[in-house]
């Protein structure tokens, strides 16, 4: 035994020495984390455009516009971060958003307001009741499509990509049928988007504020709640999660419902911001959200996810688009740039994983 013990002690000492040598400094450790790399990239972009277009890009009004433009996508992306954290995917984001808009509009049409319907109410005469009714409608739409996704993926074991591809098409069809292919406009929800609940802070419109609140809730839920921990565990190893007694199917259903609710809520915000439903719109929102999540450092293989990364990932394509237009570069270049950055981000994630699992 003493022989083995001696050998063990030697091995432990060698291990410790090797680990000490290999351990990078705090600063390098911080820079090496993927989220810092993407944050640095975003900072460089912001700085570059500010220098290239002085007095145009870095203005409060332009940055407010940017923040408004990304807010709705941020809401959907936070939801889909949870889905991707389970090694799933949600392609049905557009139908969640559009059904959210349509159900919100239908809810407003069901309410009598004065001599007309709530949907015809001008922005300055809207009431909390109308807003809540529209919100409820949008959330019901999100709940339904999320629950369908969850049942298909968790209980019927249909691969997430195909299950949500199915609900993407079906959901759009339902929206078109309900609206008979015609959009409907309303100003009743405008204050939700353009008002300022907290006056005095430049750029902090309600829409931006709501986006921020969703990010904070998402952050706490993913990184500090037991729900988030279980989400990551299932994404990391479904078998391990099952063996410790997690109810994997039920949890997956919850995650897809959460994703659906986020999309329905994004639809509510979209109706509020653009003052119209948009059946036939939002077609690339799913790809934009997935791009944002992947750019942020969430692994498409599940188990590793970051809400702050998603926030950064939403901003990078938007800043490129906006910046290119302002400095006079053909905005089509944005698509190419985003494509390259996306592939680079996923590649670096792969490299990191491979080096981590080398033993």
């Amino acid at each position: 035994m003493s022989e083995t013990t001696k050998a063990l002690d030697a091995q432990v000492a060698a291990d410790a020495a090797a680990a000490e040598e290999a351990r990078p400094s705090r600063l390098r450790q911080l820079v090496a984390t993927p989220i810092m790399a993407t944050l640095a990239f975003l900072a460089v972009l912001l700085l570059a455009f500010s220098i290239l277009a002085p007095g145009k890009f870095g203005t409060t009004s332009n940055l407010t516009l940017l923040a408004q433009n990304v807010a709705i996508l941020t809401v959907a992306s936070v939801g889909t971060t949870f889905v991707i954290a389970t090694a799933g995917i949600d392609l049905s984001i557009p139908s969640g958003i559009i059904l959210g808009e349509v159900f919100a509009a239908q809810a407003l049409m069901m309410i009598s307001a004065g001599d007309g319907k709530a949907i015809d109410v001008p922005a300055d005469q809207t009431r909390a009741g109308y807003v809540l009714a529209a919100l409820a409608g949008a959330l019901v739409a999100g709940l339904v499509i999320g629950a369908v996704n969850g049942v298909l993926v968790a209980y019927m074991r249909i691969p997430p990509m195909l299950a949500t591809l199915g609900t993407l098409g079906a959901g759009l069809g339902v929206a078109l049928l309900i609206r008979k292919g015609v959009n409907v406009a309303t100003y009743a929800l405008n204050p939700v988007a353009t008002g300022t609940l907290i006056p005095g802070v430049p750029g902090l419109t309600n829409l931006v504020l709501i986006g921020l609140i969703v990010v904070v809730i998402g952050y706490v839920a993913l990184h500090h709640s037991v729900f988030g921990r279980h989400t990551l565990a299932i994404g990391s190893s479904e078998e391990a999660a099952r063996r410790v007694g997690l109810r994997v199917e039920r949890h997956l259903l919850k995650v897809y419902v959460l994703g659906g609710l986020a999309n329905g809520f994004a639809g509510f915000l979209s109706l509020a911001y653009f003052s119209t439903t948009s059946v036939g719109g939002h077609t690339t929102d799913n790809l934009q959200a997935i791009t944002a999540v992947a750019l942020g450092g969430t692994s498409l293989f599940g188990g590793v996810a970051t809400i702050l990364g998603t926030l950064i990932g939403v901003w990078i394509p938007a800043v490129l688009q906006n910046g290119f237009i302002i400095i006079g570069v053909n905005p089509y270049w944005q698509m190419i740039a985003v494509g390259i950055v996306l592939v680079l981000a996923v590649w670096s994630d792969q490299l990191r994983r491979r080096s981590q699992n080398r033993r």
Binding site: V220, R229, A233, R359
Partner: protein
Amino acid sequence: MSESVGGQGVPALEARSIVKSFGTVRALRGASFQAYPGEVTALVGDNGAGKSTLIKVLSGVYSPDEGEVLVDGRPVSIPTPQAASALGIETVYQDLALAPDLDAASNVFLGRELRRFKVLHDQREMRKRTAASFAELGVGLVQDLRVPVASFSGGQRQSVAIARAAMWAEHVIIMDEPTAALGVIQTAKVLELIHSVRERGLAVVFISHNLPQVIEVADRIEVMRLGARVARFRRGEAGVERLIASISGAYANEEVAR
């Protein structure tokens, strides 16, 4: 005779005449088994002897067709692995079953998270307790507790899995070939860990094909052949040759009801 090869007191975990069939295959034909607190009980036998099936019955993966399982002398039913956990029986699987992207503390507490405000987890406290438990068991993890277990070596991961089981098991830890995939040094570390788990008064059950290792580590050895127990030995009663004879059917010290 069976008293002389039994352990001390009441078995922490006991199986009596378990029968389990899969279609026409009778995997267990009246298998009995005993594990005592504070002892390492090795379960040996050739491939197909029924070791894994018996272990799965004891850890709630399979329900027996006939026979009885007793914990601390009381008959119990173990319909699910969760039921086994509730009875204080934890199993360390051959393929580890850790979530590779989570850190050690998150894995140790997975499904049993310490909570704050009902819905939030208390990561700091979980890390503290994990560190304390690892220190007590002598799990020498070089890496800190914040890195995902994917970056650990096989032996370290196995140590995390065993330490997790040791932390939650109140009576019995069952290990299915815990050192099968490990190198020499890592194996020695895991065996030391098994010792310290035993010192806590838990009953340790482990399956192994490595007979010299079994003889070194086990306080008692139970040999299975063709779905039933054929021999029992206390420490020092059997060498490798006698074990091989029992495994192959040339030696038996126990009557088997067929």
